[in-house]
C-alpha cells in the first residue's frame, strides 16, 4: 500500500471516528441541545425564502440599470493614433448613436415599468396570503415544536407476518413511510418483499435504501403507477387531516393497478394517552379511525379491505388491494 492509499484509509477511519464521536456525544446529551436548536432555528429563519422578495427587487433594479444605454462609445486603443481616430468618429456620429441609444433606453424603461407593477402586485398577494395564513394557522410554531418532540409510535410486531403475506405478490417496489421501523423493514426484505423506506426523521439511519425526505415530497417526484404497494404509517398519527388525505391520494396515484396497500393507524385513545393533554390539544392532526381508512379505501374501489387489530388493542392494520 503506497502513502496515498494508506492516508486515504486513515482519513476515512478518522471521519468514521468523528461521526461516531459526534453521534455519541449528541446521544449522551453532552452537547447543549437548547443552544444548538436555537442556532439551527436562527440560521433557518434567515436562509432561503426570506430573501425572495428582495431577490425580485434586486433583479428589477438590475434590469433598470441595464436599460440605460450609454451613447458614449469607448475610444481605448493600442495606439494614440487609433484613439484619435475613434474619438473623431465618435464626435462625428454622436448624434446618430444618441438617437439610437435614447430609443433603446425608452424601450428598456417601458419594459421595466410592467415589471414594477407585477412586483407590487405579487407583494400585495404575498401580504394578503400571510394575513390569511396567520388567521388560519395561529399555532403553527407551537405545533411544529410539538411534532419535533414526538417520538414515533412503535409498530406492533403482530403485523409483521400479515404484512409479509399481504405484500408477497406485489408487482413492484413497496414503499414504507413515513415511519421506518428497522425491524419491520428488514423482516419484509428477508421475506422477499422489495421494500424501501421514506422518513422525514432527521435522525441518521444506517439502513440501506431509506430516503430522508418527507413522504409528500418523495411522492411528488415519483412517476405515476410506479409502486407495487405501500405501507402508510407514522404520519397517520400526527399529520393534519389534509396532509393525511393528500398522502393517500398521491400514494394511490403512484401505485400500479393491483397494488397491495396497507395503513397502520394508532387508536385515538392510545394516541391521546401517550401524547398527554397539551400535545393532544395543540396538535393540528390526530389519527383517523380505522373505519375512516376503510371507508376511504373502499371509496377508491379497493378490494379485499381487511382490518386487523393488534393484540394490545393499541393499533389497527388495514390491508387492501387496488383494482
Amino acid at each position: 500500500m503506497n502513502d496515498s492509499q494508506s492516508d486515504a484509509t486513515y482519513f476515512k477511519s478518522v471521519v468514521s471516528e468523528i461521526e461516531a464521536e459526534a453521534q455519541r456525544r449528541s446521544a449522551s446529551g453532552q452537547y447543549p441541545r437548547a443552544l444548538l436548536r436555537s442556532l439551527d432555528e436562527e440560521f433557518r429563519r434567515w436562509i432561503p425564502d426570506a430573501s425572495l422578495e428582495n431577490g425580485v427587487e434586486d433583479t428589477i433594479r438590475g434590469v433598470e440599470a441595464a436599460a440605460y444605454v450609454d451613447p458614449v462609445v469607448p475610444v481605448d486603443s493600442r495606439s494614440p493614433f487609433g484613439r484619435y481616430i475613434k474619438w473623431a468618429v465618435r464626435r462625428l456620429t454622436y448624434f446618430y448613436h444618441r438617437h439610437i441609444a435614447q430609443q433603446i433606453t425608452a424601450l428598456g424603461i417601458h419594459i421595466t415599468r410592467p415589471l414594477r407593477l407585477l412586483d407590487a402586485s405579487v407583494k400585495n398577494v404575498d401580504r394578503r396570503l400571510s394575513a390569511l395564513e396567520d388567521r388560519f394557522d395561529v399555532g403553527a410554531t407551537a405545533r411544529a415544536e410539538l411534532i419535533a418532540g414526538i417520538s414515533t409510535f412503535p409498530i406492533s410486531s403482530d403485523f409483521k407476518e400479515v404484512l409479509a403475506s399481504h405484500l408477497a405478490n406485489a408487482s413492484g417496489r413497496v414503499l414504507l413511510g413515513d415511519q421506518v421501523d428497522p425491524d419491520l423493514l428488514q423482516f419484509l426484505r428477508a421475506s422477499g418483499v422489495d421494500t424501501y423506506g421514506v422518513t422525514s426523521s432527521s435522525e441518521r439511519s444506517d439502513l440501506v435504501d431509506v430516503r430522508q425526505e418527507t413522504l409528500i415530497e418523495h411522492l411528488e417526484h415519483l412517476e405515476d403507477k410506479s409502486l407495487g404497494g405501500f405501507v402508510l404509517c407514522g404520519l397517520t398519527g400526527r399529520a393534519s387531516l389534509n396532509e393525511q388525505l393528500r398522502a393517500l391520494r398521491l400514494l394511490l396515484l403512484r401505485s400500479k393497478p393491483d397494488a397491495r396497500v396497507a395503513v397502520i393507524v394508532v387508536h385515538t385513545e392510545t394516541w391521546s394517552a401517550r401524547l398527554g393533554p397539551v400535545a393532544a390539544d395543540l396538535l393540528d392532526g390526530r389519527p383517523l379511525h380505522p373505519e375512516t381508512w376503510t371507508h376511504l379505501l373502499l371509496r377508491e374501489h379497493a378490494l379485499e379491505v381487511t382490518a386487523v387489530e393488534s393484540s394490545d388493542s393499541e393499533s389497527t392494520l388495514i390491508t387492501a388491494k387496488l383494482p
Binding site: S4, F11, V15, P32, L39, E42, I47, S51, N54, G55
Partner: protein, 354 residues
C-alpha cells in the same frame, strides 16, 4: 495556418474561467495554431487582447466554447460550420441561485437548456472533472473527457504585513474559506459550524472568508446570520485580495473548510493543499474527486459534525501533519505542466482528425 479560436460569454482577468481561457490560448498558440479569444463582455484590461464576438472568423477550423453560464454566445458557437469543442466548467443548478438572484437564475437556466440542446452538435467536450463529464454523458454528448482546469498555483511570497497581522491577532483555530460569496458555497453553514466549534468545544475559533460578493441578497443574509449568531467579532470578510495576501492567509490559517453544496471543480481547495493547509470538506458534487485522498471528506455537514472535524484537525497534530503531506501530494496532481500536456495532446489530436 490552422485556426482554433475560443468563445467565452464574459472574460475577466481575475476569474477562474477567464484565466483558464487565457492559459488555453497560450497552449493553442504553442501548438502552432492561430488562436484568438472572442467574447461578448470583455473586462477593460483585456480589450486589446480579446475581440468582440461578432468578429469570430466564419472559416475557423475549430471553435472552443467555454461553457459555464447561459449566453447568446453559445448560439453563435452552435452555428459555426467548423469543428465545435465545448470546455465545460459546470453550471450551478438553478435551485441554488434562484432565490437569491433572479437574473443569474435566468442565465443558469438558459445555460442548462443550451447544454442539453447542443449535445448532438458538439464534436467533443472537455470537462474539468468527472462530475462535470457525467452530466454531459447523461445528456448524450457523444465524446467527452476529463482534463482539469488550467490554473497557476500561486508561489508568490506571502505579504509580510498581512501575515504579521493575521498571526498577531490569532486566538483559537483559524478557519479559512476562499470563494465568491454565493449561496452554492454555503457560507451560512461555515458560520454555523464555527459558532458550534466555539460553543461546543470551547475553541476561540475565527472564520476568515476571502472572496468577492456574489448575489447581494445572499451577502445580506450571511451578514444577518453573522449578527444573529453573535459572530461579528469572530468572522472576517476579507473581500478580493492580492495573490501575496492570499498566500499569507493560506500560511496563517489552521484549516481550510469547504462546505459548498455545488462545485464543478474548486481551485481554492487545491491551492490550500498546495500550501500545506489541512482540508476539511463536505463531499458533494466535484469536491470529493478534487480533494480525493488529500483531505477529510465529510458525508454530512451538520454543524456538530463539521465542528467536531475542525476540532479534531486542530488538536490532533499527527492527523494535521498527515493531512498536510497528503494535500501537497494531491495538489501536485494538478501541476500546470501536466495539465497543459493533456490539453495539448487532446486538442492536437482533435484538430488533426478533421
Amino acid at each position: 495556418m490552422t485556426s482554433v479560436h475560443q468563445l467565452v460569454p464574459t472574460i475577466s482577468p481575475r476569474d477562474a474561467v477567464g484565466n483558464h481561457t487565457l492559459a488555453l490560448q497560450r497552449v493553442l498558440r504553442g501548438l502552432g495554431f492561430e488562436s484568438e479569444i472572442f467574447s461578448m463582455f470583455r473586462h477593460p484590461d483585456l480589450m486589446t487582447k480579446t475581440h468582440y464576438v461578432d468578429q469570430l472568423p466564419p472559416d475557423a477550423d475549430a471553435v472552443i466554447y467555454q461553457l459555464s453560464i447561459g449566453s447568446p454566445v453559445a448560439d453563435r458557437w452552435a452555428r459555426h460550420p467548423g469543428k465545435k469543442i465545448a470546455n465545460y466548467h459546470n453550471i450551478t443548478p438553478i435551485s441554488l441561485v434562484g432565490k437569491w438572484d433572479g437574473l443569474l437564475a435566468a442565465e443558469v437556466q438558459l445555460g442548462r437548456d443550451q447544454m442539453a440542446r447542443y449535445a448532438n452538435i458538439c464534436d467533443h467536450a472537455i470537462c474539468d472533472s468527472d462530475f462535470n463529464k457525467a452530466e454531459l454523458d447523461a445528456l448524450g454528448y457523444p465524446s467527452t473527457e476529463t482534463v482539469p482546469v488550467l490554473f497557476d498555483i500561486s508561489n508568490a511570497k506571502a505579504d509580510k504585513g498581512t501575515l504579521t497581522r493575521l498571526l498577531r491577532n490569532r486566538r483559537g483555530t483559524q478557519v479559512l474559506f476562499v470563494g465568491r460569496i454565493a449561496p452554492n458555497k454555503a457560507h451560512h453553514d461555515l458560520v454555523a459550524a464555527v459558532r458550534t466549534l466555539r460553543d461546543v468545544h470551547g475553541d476561540e475559533a475565527h472564520l476568515h472568508i476571502v472572496g468577492t460578493d456574489g448575489p447581494p441578497g445572499y451577502r445580506r443574509v450571511v451578514d444577518t446570520i453573522v449578527s444573529h449568531a453573535g459572530m461579528r467579532d469572530h468572522v472576517t470578510f476579507h473581500g478580493s485580495i492580492t495573490q501575496e495576501e492570499l498566500v499569507a492567509h493560506y500560511q496563517a490559517a489552521d484549516v481550510f473548510c469547504c462546505l459548498s453544496d455545488h462545485e464543478g471543480f474548486c481551485v481554492p481547495v487545491i491551492e490550500a493543499m498546495h500550501h500545506g493547509l489541512p482540508v476539511v470538506a463536505y463531499d458533494c458534487a466535484a469536491v470529493g474527486e478534487t480533494v480525493s485522498g488529500g483531505g477529510l471528506l465529510l458525508r454530512e455537514k451538520n454543524s456538530l459534525l463539521v465542528a467536531a472535524a475542525l476540532h479534531r484537525v486542530s488538536t490532533d497534530v499527527q492527523l494535521a501533519g498527515r493531512l498536510q503531506d497528503a494535500g501537497r501530494r494531491r495538489a501536485a496532481d494538478f501541476n500546470r505542466t501536466v495539465t497543459e500536456i493533456r490539453f495539448r495532446d487532446s486538442l492536437s489530436e482533435l484538430v488533426d482528425s478533421q
